[in-house]
Amino acid sequence: MSAARNLLAGFAEHDQLVRALRRLRELGCTRLEVYAPFPSREVDELLPGRPTPAGWLMLAGGMLGGSGAYFLQWYAAHDYAYNVGGRPLHSWPSFVPVTFELTVLCAALTGLVALLVLTRLPRLDHPVFAEPAFVRASQDRFFLAVHTADPHLAAIDVADLLRGFGAERIEEVGE
């Protein structure tokens, strides 16, 4: 599949990108990607794809960290029995702060790792970077990548369609 190519179209305006994206979605296109300097609600709603599981992963990480922290304190308090004023060794109210802190810590670190895994980053090379104009994808241009082999687009001149929505330049890039 060396012929796998994307058409990469750059737009000057966010609205132009949204309109082009909406049209392609109406045609039934699914193999799309948007590159933008910031996220936007409209693009997110138009793009296909599953919702992110990052939240659930963070919840799991936090719960694991919290229960681990509680167990650690319970275990340590019994392993080195330290009697202060006859308080029970399993003095749970005093274990709450550390349990809370480690819940937050583990959830946050899980979030960082989950983000890297889900986005497959760091990845310093990517075919889109070959396009010289792409440096503005992080600044003030909005790029739309359309897969040329999409069956929904077989009868359409995609480049023409994109140009109709105001695409400044359209380049082919590898996938």
């Binding site: 300097p37 910031f38 960082l112 760091p122 310093l124 600044q139």
Partner: protein
């Protein structure tokens, strides 16, 4: 004259576009404007860092005896500075996380800077309890690990909770700050001239390409981190408050401490934000992003938290009076009229009286006026911690065990040293990283949306 309604005033100056935002903000690290001023400031700060390193080295060599601490005043400067610095950090998280969840759009312009301030303040704060240990090289004994001595930390002690609270706070703040920076680092990579700069920013940007699928994950993680940071920031200073409140000492043993410490933290933190942001926006031309309206809003937060702090003082006095406890009543009278009376009245002046000037709208919108107020509040809050630590300890129950505390030159060297360390880190930050979030500002200007 009809004053415009506050909400009608734009948060970003009119005429700003994605292009102008990128240009103005990335110019500072890339083109290095005002090199002479920067070098002068950095050199001064760096010289003070050397003072700090000397002071730390001398603590390692001679021990904490070089400080003014004694029995009964065993806590002295180290704990005062710790509480002060960690409190300053809180405004950063408050602005980035709590105001984000509350949809306060004005946070967008200042969150990056204040998060950096948080990190640097936590770095300064964390030094003090460790050095105060006496044998700082054994700081890792605070951590729970299966050591050959069979010892574990004392889980019922707020001092152990502090270890977890402060380290969690530092790490989570770093993650939050770095994730917020990633898209901006990609912008820096794409705008930088020389190849080595592009590579360096590129590596730290992790190859971020702004793919919408990535943004989807990114936004969710960022939002949840904000949600986590919100209770975290409240917990950290509450635990610091409990360090005091759990002791039975009059002046410390009070249930008001955790919330009153949190309010005091945000109060002092906002003062520090103003202290930093006012010269920065003037020097680098950020007035279109950090507008007079931002200053006014921050001044209002300063007023509100100032009143909560004042309520805390009042509540301490009222509780002492209504308790009928002889020692509690003495503590209050001793604070106001005892040997440390001057510090007490400084704190009342700086924290309660001075912020009342902010009722005056012209002052809330005057950069120079606010700068002066913010400096006074910074002083006031440091003195407040000094009063809580020192005046409570120096005369507790038995007059035979009373004493006095005075900071020695090494106490001052270390404290002033951390001020230099903090400033030096800020200078480096504005030198190499975008001080305001270009991504969030652009999103706000182009789509009217803010990060969610």
């Amino acid at each position: 004259m009809n004053a415009p309604l506050a909400h009608a005033e734009p948060l970003v100056a009119p005429g700003e576009s994605a292009r102008s935002i990128d240009a103005r903000i990335s110019r500072v690290p890339l083109d290095f404007p005002h090199p002479v001023l920067w070098w002068l400031g950095f050199a001064a700060a760096f010289a003070v860092v050397m003072v700090m390193l000397t002071a730390i080295t001398w603590v390692f060599v001679r021990g904490v005896g070089i400080w003014g601490i004694n029995i009964p005043v065993a806590w002295g400067f180290a704990i005062t500075n710790f509480v002060w610095w960690i409190g300053i950090g809180h405004a950063g998280t408050f602005i980035s996380a709590i105001l984000l969840l509350l949809h306060q759009h004005w946070r967008t312009s200042i969150n990056r800077l204040t998060e950096a301030m948080t990190l640097f303040a936590v770095a300064c704060a964390a030094m003090f309890p460790l050095l105060h240990l006496g044998r700082p090289q054994y700081f890792y004994w605070l951590l729970p690990y299966p050591d050959t001595m069979g010892l574990w930390p004392q889980w019922r002690s707020p001092l152990v909770w502090d270890v977890f609270a402060v380290s969690t706070y530092g790490i989570v703040s770093l993650v939050f700050w770095y994730l917020g920076l990633v898209p901006d680092l990609a912008t820096m990579r794409d705008r930088a001239g020389p190849a080595w700069k592009r590579r360096l920013y590129g590596v730290f940007a992790l190859g971020w390409r702004g793919a919408a699928q990535h943004w989807r994950h990114y936004e969710r993680v960022y939002l949840i981190l904000a949600g986590l940071a919100t209770p975290l920031v409240v917990s950290v200073h509450s635990i610091v408050g409990m360090d005091f409140a759990v002791a039975i000492l009059p002046g410390w043993h009070s249930t008001i401490f955790p919330p009153y410490f949190v309010a005091g933290a945000i109060f002092s933190g906002f003062a520090m934000v103003l202290t930093i942001v006012i010269p920065l926006r003037a020097l680098y031309g950020f007035k279109g992003y950090v507008t007079d309206r931002h200053l006014e809003l921050m001044a209002k937060v300063l007023m509100v938290t100032g009143w909560i702090v004042a309520y805390g003082y009042f509540s301490e006095f009222f509780t002492a009076w209504i308790s009928g406890e002889e020692f509690d009543r003495f503590m209050v009278i001793n604070r106001a009229t005892g040997p440390y009376w001057a510090t007490f009245w400084t704190l009342i002046t700086c924290n309660v009286i001075v912020p009342q000037a902010l009722w005056w709208r012209r002052l809330r919108r005057s950069a120079s006026g606010l700068f002066v107020v913010s400096l006074l509040v910074n002083v006031g809050m440091w003195v407040e911690r000094y009063v809580i630590v020192v005046t409570s300890l120096h005369r507790d129950f038995l007059p035979s065990s009373w004493g006095m505390f005075n900071g020695t030159k090494w106490d001052w060297a270390l404290f002033i040293g951390t001020l230099g360390f903090f400033s030096a880190l800020l200078f480096l930050f504005v030198r190499v990283l975008p001080a305001l979030s270009m991504t969030e500002l652009k999103r706000f200007v182009v789509t009217g949306e803010e990060t969610e």
